[in-house]
Symmetry: C2
Amino acid sequence: MSDSDRKPKRGRPQTLDEDATLKVAVDAYWGADPADVSINALCKLAEVSKPSLYRVFKSEDGLTCAALGSYAETVLSDIFVILGQRRPLSETIPALTEFASHDPKMERGCLFYKMRAGKHRLGPQTQKRVEDLNGAAVDAFKAYLEDRQTVGDWNGTLSAKTAAHYLVEQIGLALTQRASGADEDMIADTLKLALTALQRP
Amino acid sequence: MSDSDRKPKRGRPQTLDEDATLKVAVDAYWGADPADVSINALCKLAEVSKPSLYRVFKSEDGLTCAALGSYAETVLSDIFVILGQRRPLSETIPALTEFASHDPKMERGCLFYKMRAGKHRLGPQTQKRVEDLNGAAVDAFKAYLEDRQTVGDWNGTLSAKTAAHYLVEQIGLALTQRASGADEDMIADTLKLALTALQRP
DNA sequence: GTTTTAACGGACCTATCGGTATATTAATTT
DNA sequence: AAATTAATATACCGATAGGTCCGTTAAAAC
Protein backbone atom coordinates (compact mmCIF):
# COMPACT_ATOMS: atom_id res chain seq x y z
CA MET A 1 0.00 0.00 0.00
CA SER A 2 2.87 2.32 0.76
CA ASP A 3 4.10 2.33 -2.81
CA SER A 4 0.87 1.53 -4.60
CA ASP A 5 -0.43 5.09 -4.19
CA ARG A 6 2.55 6.68 -5.86
CA LYS A 7 1.22 8.41 -8.93
CA PRO A 8 3.58 9.45 -11.73
CA LYS A 9 4.44 13.02 -10.87
CA ARG A 10 6.66 15.79 -12.07
CA GLY A 11 9.83 16.83 -10.30
CA ARG A 12 12.80 14.86 -9.17
CA PRO A 13 11.83 11.27 -8.48
CA GLN A 14 12.13 9.94 -4.96
CA THR A 15 15.17 7.79 -4.39
CA LEU A 16 14.40 6.98 -0.75
CA ASP A 17 13.09 3.44 -0.49
CA GLU A 18 10.22 3.73 1.97
CA ASP A 19 9.79 0.01 2.54
CA ALA A 20 13.48 -0.59 3.08
CA THR A 21 13.70 2.37 5.46
CA LEU A 22 10.68 1.16 7.40
CA LYS A 23 12.22 -2.29 7.61
CA VAL A 24 15.38 -0.83 9.11
CA ALA A 25 13.30 1.22 11.54
CA VAL A 26 11.23 -1.75 12.69
CA ASP A 27 14.38 -3.77 13.19
CA ALA A 28 16.12 -1.03 15.16
CA TYR A 29 13.10 -0.30 17.36
CA TRP A 30 12.45 -3.97 17.91
CA GLY A 31 16.01 -4.82 18.79
CA ALA A 32 16.39 -2.07 21.36
CA ASP A 33 14.07 0.06 23.41
CA PRO A 34 12.18 2.15 20.84
CA ALA A 35 12.77 5.31 22.86
CA ASP A 36 16.52 4.73 22.75
CA VAL A 37 16.68 4.80 18.96
CA SER A 38 17.22 8.34 17.76
CA ILE A 39 16.30 9.70 14.38
CA ASN A 40 19.97 10.47 13.84
CA ALA A 41 20.99 6.87 14.50
CA LEU A 42 18.21 5.60 12.32
CA CYS A 43 19.28 7.79 9.41
CA LYS A 44 22.79 6.37 9.60
CA LEU A 45 21.47 2.80 9.78
CA ALA A 46 19.13 3.28 6.84
CA GLU A 47 21.68 5.42 4.98
CA VAL A 48 19.10 8.14 4.50
CA SER A 49 19.36 11.85 5.14
CA LYS A 50 17.30 13.37 7.90
CA PRO A 51 15.37 15.78 5.71
CA SER A 52 14.45 12.92 3.37
CA LEU A 53 13.20 10.84 6.23
CA TYR A 54 11.13 13.73 7.54
CA ARG A 55 9.72 14.42 4.10
CA VAL A 56 8.37 10.88 3.92
CA PHE A 57 7.34 10.22 7.52
CA LYS A 58 6.59 13.82 8.57
CA SER A 59 7.84 13.40 12.15
CA GLU A 60 9.30 10.91 14.57
CA ASP A 61 5.75 10.13 15.62
CA GLY A 62 4.91 9.34 12.01
CA LEU A 63 7.87 7.02 11.71
CA THR A 64 7.27 5.10 14.93
CA CYS A 65 3.60 4.83 14.02
CA ALA A 66 4.41 3.47 10.58
CA ALA A 67 6.94 1.08 12.10
CA LEU A 68 4.37 -0.23 14.55
CA GLY A 69 1.87 -0.65 11.73
CA SER A 70 4.35 -2.57 9.66
CA TYR A 71 5.24 -4.73 12.64
CA ALA A 72 1.60 -5.47 13.35
CA GLU A 73 1.05 -6.56 9.78
CA THR A 74 4.08 -8.72 9.42
CA VAL A 75 4.58 -10.17 12.89
CA LEU A 76 1.65 -9.66 15.20
CA SER A 77 -0.70 -11.13 12.64
CA ASP A 78 0.69 -14.57 13.56
CA ILE A 79 -1.13 -14.44 16.88
CA PHE A 80 -4.38 -13.42 15.25
CA VAL A 81 -3.99 -16.36 12.86
CA ILE A 82 -3.60 -18.77 15.78
CA LEU A 83 -6.73 -17.39 17.41
CA GLY A 84 -8.67 -17.30 14.17
CA GLN A 85 -8.29 -21.04 13.76
CA ARG A 86 -10.70 -21.52 16.65
CA ARG A 87 -8.96 -24.66 17.81
CA PRO A 88 -9.59 -26.06 21.31
CA LEU A 89 -7.92 -24.44 24.30
CA SER A 90 -5.89 -27.61 24.77
CA GLU A 91 -4.16 -26.82 21.48
CA THR A 92 -4.29 -23.04 21.37
CA ILE A 93 -2.77 -22.41 24.79
CA PRO A 94 0.32 -24.54 24.12
CA ALA A 95 0.65 -22.89 20.72
CA LEU A 96 0.61 -19.45 22.30
CA THR A 97 3.01 -20.55 25.00
CA GLU A 98 5.38 -21.97 22.43
CA PHE A 99 5.18 -18.81 20.37
CA ALA A 100 5.82 -16.47 23.27
CA SER A 101 8.55 -18.43 25.00
CA HIS A 102 10.44 -20.33 22.33
CA ASP A 103 9.80 -18.88 18.88
CA PRO A 104 13.13 -17.49 17.65
CA LYS A 105 11.22 -14.70 15.98
CA MET A 106 10.38 -13.38 19.44
CA GLU A 107 13.92 -13.62 20.69
CA ARG A 108 14.16 -9.87 21.20
CA GLY A 109 10.69 -9.58 22.65
CA CYS A 110 7.79 -7.87 20.96
CA LEU A 111 7.83 -4.37 19.54
CA PHE A 112 4.19 -3.86 20.41
CA TYR A 113 4.66 -4.63 24.09
CA LYS A 114 7.86 -2.60 24.17
CA MET A 115 6.02 0.40 22.82
CA ARG A 116 3.12 -0.19 25.16
CA ALA A 117 5.50 -0.28 28.12
CA GLY A 118 7.01 3.06 27.12
CA LYS A 119 3.83 4.56 25.76
CA HIS A 120 4.33 7.93 27.40
CA ARG A 121 7.50 8.46 25.41
CA LEU A 122 5.74 8.08 22.07
CA GLY A 123 3.96 10.69 20.00
CA PRO A 124 0.16 10.97 20.01
CA GLN A 125 -0.36 9.09 16.73
CA THR A 126 1.72 6.17 17.88
CA GLN A 127 0.13 6.16 21.30
CA LYS A 128 -3.28 5.88 19.73
CA ARG A 129 -2.09 3.07 17.51
CA VAL A 130 -0.74 1.21 20.51
CA GLU A 131 -4.07 1.57 22.26
CA ASP A 132 -5.97 0.46 19.19
CA LEU A 133 -3.74 -2.56 18.75
CA ASN A 134 -4.15 -3.46 22.38
CA GLY A 135 -7.91 -3.22 22.02
CA ALA A 136 -7.82 -5.35 18.89
CA ALA A 137 -5.76 -7.98 20.67
CA VAL A 138 -8.11 -8.12 23.63
CA ASP A 139 -11.07 -8.32 21.26
CA ALA A 140 -9.50 -11.16 19.31
CA PHE A 141 -8.83 -13.15 22.47
CA LYS A 142 -12.32 -12.37 23.72
CA ALA A 143 -13.92 -13.53 20.47
CA TYR A 144 -11.88 -16.70 20.55
CA LEU A 145 -12.88 -17.46 24.14
CA GLU A 146 -16.55 -16.73 23.49
CA ASP A 147 -16.43 -19.14 20.60
CA ARG A 148 -14.87 -21.84 22.76
CA GLN A 149 -17.54 -21.10 25.33
CA THR A 150 -20.42 -21.80 22.94
CA VAL A 151 -18.77 -25.06 21.93
CA GLY A 152 -18.42 -26.05 25.58
CA ASP A 153 -14.66 -26.16 25.44
CA TRP A 154 -14.39 -23.39 28.00
CA ASN A 155 -16.67 -22.88 30.94
CA GLY A 156 -14.94 -20.61 33.38
CA THR A 157 -16.68 -18.53 36.00
CA LEU A 158 -14.70 -15.69 34.50
CA SER A 159 -16.03 -13.37 31.86
CA ALA A 160 -14.46 -13.75 28.44
CA LYS A 161 -13.33 -10.16 28.69
CA THR A 162 -11.47 -10.66 31.95
CA ALA A 163 -9.86 -13.82 30.63
CA ALA A 164 -8.87 -12.03 27.44
CA HIS A 165 -7.20 -9.25 29.38
CA TYR A 166 -5.45 -11.85 31.48
CA LEU A 167 -4.12 -13.62 28.41
CA VAL A 168 -2.88 -10.41 26.84
CA GLU A 169 -1.03 -9.45 30.01
CA GLN A 170 0.50 -12.85 30.63
CA ILE A 171 1.74 -13.15 27.07
CA GLY A 172 3.06 -9.62 27.39
CA LEU A 173 4.90 -10.57 30.53
CA ALA A 174 6.49 -13.55 28.80
CA LEU A 175 7.56 -11.49 25.80
CA THR A 176 8.95 -8.77 28.03
CA GLN A 177 11.02 -11.34 29.89
CA ARG A 178 12.11 -12.67 26.55
CA ALA A 179 13.42 -9.24 25.60
CA SER A 180 15.43 -9.06 28.79
CA GLY A 181 17.19 -12.28 27.93
CA ALA A 182 15.61 -14.50 30.57
CA ASP A 183 15.85 -18.26 30.20
CA GLU A 184 13.28 -19.55 27.73
CA ASP A 185 12.33 -22.59 29.78
CA MET A 186 11.73 -20.46 32.83
CA ILE A 187 9.56 -18.15 30.79
CA ALA A 188 7.64 -21.11 29.44
CA ASP A 189 7.14 -22.54 32.94
CA THR A 190 5.87 -19.21 34.21
CA LEU A 191 3.49 -18.72 31.33
CA LYS A 192 2.19 -22.30 31.49
CA LEU A 193 1.59 -21.87 35.18
CA ALA A 194 -0.27 -18.62 34.66
CA LEU A 195 -2.43 -20.09 31.94
CA THR A 196 -3.48 -23.15 33.93
CA ALA A 197 -5.54 -20.71 35.99
CA LEU A 198 -7.79 -20.22 32.97
CA GLN A 199 -8.63 -23.88 32.55
CA ARG A 200 -10.14 -24.45 35.98
CA PRO A 201 -13.31 -23.31 37.74
CA MET B 1 22.67 6.99 58.77
CA SER B 2 23.15 9.67 56.15
CA ASP B 3 23.55 12.42 58.74
CA SER B 4 24.91 10.36 61.61
CA ASP B 5 28.36 10.18 60.03
CA ARG B 6 28.81 13.90 59.69
CA LYS B 7 31.74 14.81 61.83
CA PRO B 8 32.34 18.40 62.90
CA LYS B 9 34.62 19.73 60.19
CA ARG B 10 36.28 22.92 59.18
CA GLY B 11 35.16 25.07 56.31
CA ARG B 12 31.76 26.34 55.32
CA PRO B 13 29.03 24.12 56.74
CA GLN B 14 26.73 22.23 54.37
CA THR B 15 23.32 23.76 53.98
CA LEU B 16 22.00 21.11 51.61
CA ASP B 17 19.62 18.80 53.45
CA GLU B 18 20.50 15.34 52.15
CA ASP B 19 17.46 13.56 53.53
CA ALA B 20 15.05 16.16 52.24
CA THR B 21 16.72 16.10 48.82
CA LEU B 22 16.58 12.32 48.70
CA LYS B 23 12.92 12.42 49.66
CA VAL B 24 12.20 14.78 46.77
CA ALA B 25 14.17 12.52 44.43
CA VAL B 26 12.36 9.36 45.49
CA ASP B 27 9.05 11.11 45.07
CA ALA B 28 9.92 12.45 41.63
CA TYR B 29 11.32 9.14 40.37
CA TRP B 30 8.42 7.23 41.83
CA GLY B 31 5.76 9.50 40.42
CA ALA B 32 7.11 9.42 36.89
CA ASP B 33 9.37 7.18 34.90
CA PRO B 34 12.76 7.48 36.63
CA ALA B 35 14.51 7.96 33.30
CA ASP B 36 12.27 10.93 32.52
CA VAL B 37 13.36 12.88 35.58
CA SER B 38 16.41 14.97 34.76
CA ILE B 39 18.97 16.22 37.22
CA ASN B 40 18.01 19.74 36.19
CA ALA B 41 14.36 19.19 37.00
CA LEU B 42 15.25 17.55 40.27
CA CYS B 43 17.40 20.48 41.33
CA LYS B 44 14.52 22.84 40.77
CA LEU B 45 12.12 20.59 42.67
CA ALA B 46 14.49 20.21 45.60
CA GLU B 47 15.59 23.84 45.38
CA VAL B 48 19.19 22.78 45.28
CA SER B 49 21.96 23.80 42.92
CA LYS B 50 23.39 21.24 40.56
CA PRO B 51 26.98 21.40 41.86
CA SER B 52 25.72 20.92 45.41
CA LEU B 53 23.75 17.88 44.40
CA TYR B 54 26.76 16.44 42.60
CA ARG B 55 29.02 17.07 45.57
CA VAL B 56 26.74 15.00 47.79
CA PHE B 57 25.64 12.24 45.42
CA LYS B 58 28.68 12.22 43.09
CA SER B 59 26.69 11.43 39.92
CA GLU B 60 23.24 10.73 38.61
CA ASP B 61 23.97 7.08 39.19
CA GLY B 62 24.76 7.83 42.82
CA LEU B 63 21.52 9.71 43.24
CA THR B 64 19.26 7.11 41.64
CA CYS B 65 21.05 4.43 43.62
CA ALA B 66 20.54 6.31 46.87
CA ALA B 67 16.93 6.95 45.96
CA LEU B 68 16.33 3.26 45.31
CA GLY B 69 18.01 2.40 48.60
CA SER B 70 15.83 4.85 50.47
CA TYR B 71 12.74 3.52 48.73
CA ALA B 72 13.65 -0.06 49.59
CA GLU B 73 14.06 0.84 53.24
CA THR B 74 10.92 2.87 53.62
CA VAL B 75 8.47 1.19 51.26
CA LEU B 76 9.61 -2.16 49.99
CA SER B 77 10.25 -3.37 53.52
CA ASP B 78 6.48 -3.70 53.94
CA ILE B 79 6.48 -6.73 51.67
CA PHE B 80 9.35 -8.33 53.52
CA VAL B 81 7.42 -7.78 56.76
CA ILE B 82 4.38 -9.57 55.35
CA LEU B 83 6.53 -12.51 54.29
CA GLY B 84 8.47 -12.55 57.53
CA GLN B 85 5.32 -13.18 59.52
CA ARG B 86 5.21 -16.70 58.07
CA ARG B 87 1.45 -16.76 58.05
CA PRO B 88 -0.44 -19.35 55.98
CA LEU B 89 -0.78 -18.90 52.24
CA SER B 90 -4.49 -18.39 52.72
CA GLU B 91 -3.69 -15.17 54.56
CA THR B 92 -0.47 -14.08 52.92
CA ILE B 93 -1.68 -14.24 49.34
CA PRO B 94 -4.71 -12.03 49.96
CA ALA B 95 -2.50 -9.65 51.91
CA LEU B 96 -0.08 -9.38 48.99
CA THR B 97 -2.94 -9.00 46.55
CA GLU B 98 -4.49 -6.26 48.64
CA PHE B 99 -1.15 -4.49 48.94
CA ALA B 100 -0.38 -4.62 45.23
CA SER B 101 -3.81 -3.78 43.89
CA HIS B 102 -5.51 -1.53 46.42
CA ASP B 103 -2.99 0.01 48.80
CA PRO B 104 -3.06 3.76 48.17
CA LYS B 105 0.66 3.82 48.83
CA MET B 106 1.14 1.90 45.59
CA GLU B 107 -1.12 4.18 43.59
CA ARG B 108 1.73 5.27 41.33
CA GLY B 109 3.19 1.81 41.05
CA CYS B 110 6.48 0.73 42.52
CA LEU B 111 9.80 2.51 42.06
CA PHE B 112 11.69 -0.76 42.19
CA TYR B 113 9.73 -2.33 39.35
CA LYS B 114 9.88 0.90 37.38
CA MET B 115 13.64 0.93 37.66
CA ARG B 116 13.85 -2.76 36.85
CA ALA B 117 11.76 -2.22 33.72
CA GLY B 118 14.10 0.53 32.53
CA LYS B 119 17.26 -1.01 33.93
CA HIS B 120 19.33 -0.35 30.84
CA ARG B 121 18.87 3.39 31.29
CA LEU B 122 20.37 3.39 34.78
CA GLY B 123 23.99 3.68 35.82
CA PRO B 124 26.03 0.64 36.83
CA GLN B 125 25.66 1.16 40.60
CA THR B 126 21.92 1.45 40.37
CA GLN B 127 21.66 -1.49 37.99
CA LYS B 128 23.51 -3.64 40.47
CA ARG B 129 21.26 -2.46 43.28
CA VAL B 130 18.20 -3.34 41.21
CA GLU B 131 19.57 -6.80 40.60
CA ASP B 132 20.44 -7.27 44.26
CA LEU B 133 17.01 -6.13 45.36
CA ASN B 134 15.40 -8.47 42.88
CA GLY B 135 17.48 -11.33 44.20
CA ALA B 136 16.60 -10.43 47.77
CA ALA B 137 12.92 -10.37 46.89
CA VAL B 138 13.05 -13.76 45.20
CA ASP B 139 14.98 -15.15 48.16
CA ALA B 140 12.45 -13.80 50.63
CA PHE B 141 9.55 -15.34 48.73
CA LYS B 142 11.47 -18.58 48.39
CA ALA B 143 12.25 -18.71 52.10
CA TYR B 144 8.61 -18.04 52.91
CA LEU B 145 7.42 -20.81 50.60
CA GLU B 146 9.94 -23.30 51.89
CA ASP B 147 8.75 -22.56 55.39
CA ARG B 148 5.14 -23.13 54.39
CA GLN B 149 6.25 -26.32 52.71
CA THR B 150 7.74 -27.77 55.89
CA VAL B 151 4.55 -26.92 57.76
CA GLY B 152 2.51 -28.66 55.07
CA ASP B 153 0.65 -25.50 54.13
CA TRP B 154 2.07 -25.67 50.62
CA ASN B 155 2.68 -28.78 48.62
CA GLY B 156 3.04 -27.81 45.03
CA THR B 157 4.79 -29.85 42.40
CA LEU B 158 6.66 -26.64 41.71
CA SER B 159 10.00 -25.80 43.22
CA ALA B 160 9.97 -22.99 45.75
CA LYS B 161 12.34 -21.08 43.52
CA THR B 162 10.08 -21.22 40.49
CA ALA B 163 7.08 -20.24 42.58
CA ALA B 164 9.05 -17.38 44.11
CA HIS B 165 9.98 -16.05 40.68
CA TYR B 166 6.37 -16.39 39.62
CA LEU B 167 5.18 -14.39 42.61
CA VAL B 168 7.72 -11.63 42.04
CA GLU B 169 6.70 -11.31 38.40
CA GLN B 170 2.97 -11.38 39.02
CA ILE B 171 3.18 -8.76 41.74
CA GLY B 172 5.38 -6.73 39.43
CA LEU B 173 2.78 -6.99 36.71
CA ALA B 174 0.09 -5.78 39.07
CA LEU B 175 2.17 -2.84 40.28
CA THR B 176 3.10 -1.90 36.72
CA GLN B 177 -0.56 -1.87 35.76
CA ARG B 178 -1.21 0.20 38.85
CA ALA B 179 1.31 2.78 37.62
CA SER B 180 -0.44 3.00 34.29
CA GLY B 181 -3.69 3.87 35.98
CA ALA B 182 -5.56 0.64 35.31
CA ASP B 183 -8.68 -0.14 37.28
CA GLU B 184 -7.80 -1.49 40.72
CA ASP B 185 -10.46 -4.16 40.72
CA MET B 186 -9.32 -5.47 37.36
CA ILE B 187 -5.76 -5.59 38.64
CA ALA B 188 -6.91 -7.45 41.72
CA ASP B 189 -8.89 -9.95 39.63
CA THR B 190 -5.90 -10.58 37.40
CA LEU B 191 -3.52 -11.03 40.30
CA LYS B 192 -5.91 -13.29 42.22
CA LEU B 193 -6.36 -15.39 39.14
CA ALA B 194 -2.64 -15.69 38.60
CA LEU B 195 -2.02 -16.64 42.21
CA THR B 196 -4.67 -19.37 42.32
CA ALA B 197 -2.29 -21.30 40.08
CA LEU B 198 0.09 -21.59 43.02
CA GLN B 199 -2.40 -23.19 45.35
CA ARG B 200 -3.16 -26.22 43.24
CA PRO B 201 -1.17 -29.26 42.12
C1' DG C 1 15.84 24.18 -24.79
C1' DT C 2 13.52 26.43 -21.21
C1' DT C 3 10.60 26.28 -17.31
C1' DT C 4 8.43 24.04 -13.57
C1' DT C 5 8.30 20.92 -9.92
C1' DA C 6 9.92 18.28 -6.21
C1' DA C 7 13.45 15.30 -3.94
C1' DC C 8 18.09 15.77 -2.40
C1' DG C 9 21.43 16.49 1.67
C1' DG C 10 24.97 19.41 4.30
C1' DA C 11 24.72 22.75 7.61
C1' DC C 12 22.27 24.69 10.86
C1' DC C 13 18.64 25.80 14.71
C1' DT C 14 17.07 25.59 19.61
C1' DA C 15 16.50 22.88 23.70
C1' DT C 16 18.14 19.86 26.90
C1' DC C 17 21.03 16.43 28.68
C1' DG C 18 24.82 15.07 32.40
C1' DG C 19 28.55 17.23 34.34
C1' DT C 20 32.09 21.11 35.90
C1' DA C 21 35.28 25.40 36.36
C1' DT C 22 35.39 29.30 39.10
C1' DA C 23 34.77 33.12 41.89
C1' DT C 24 32.53 33.91 46.21
C1' DT C 25 31.13 33.12 50.91
C1' DA C 26 30.89 31.17 55.56
C1' DA C 27 32.62 28.74 58.82
C1' DT C 28 36.90 26.63 61.81
C1' DT C 29 41.72 26.90 63.19
C1' DT C 30 45.72 29.43 64.32
C1' DA D 1 42.52 39.42 62.95
C1' DA D 2 44.57 36.24 59.50
C1' DA D 3 44.82 31.97 57.26
C1' DT D 4 42.68 27.82 55.98
C1' DT D 5 39.08 24.91 54.41
C1' DA D 6 35.01 23.63 52.20
C1' DA D 7 30.19 24.62 50.47
C1' DT D 8 27.79 27.83 47.56
C1' DA D 9 25.70 29.09 42.91
C1' DT D 10 26.34 31.25 38.26
C1' DA D 11 27.75 30.31 34.12
C1' DC D 12 29.57 27.38 31.30
C1' DC D 13 31.14 22.71 28.70
C1' DG D 14 30.52 19.16 24.81
C1' DA D 15 27.16 15.89 23.17
C1' DT D 16 22.93 14.90 21.41
C1' DA D 17 18.06 15.34 20.76
C1' DG D 18 14.16 16.50 17.22
C1' DG D 19 13.50 19.33 13.46
C1' DT D 20 14.33 22.65 9.38
C1' DC D 21 16.72 26.17 5.86
C1' DC D 22 18.26 26.40 1.56
C1' DG D 23 21.23 25.81 -2.33
C1' DT D 24 21.54 21.94 -5.64
C1' DT D 25 19.96 18.47 -8.81
C1' DA D 26 17.03 15.42 -11.60
C1' DA D 27 13.14 14.56 -13.69
C1' DA D 28 8.46 15.95 -16.37
C1' DA D 29 5.91 19.53 -18.94
C1' DC D 30 5.95 23.08 -22.13
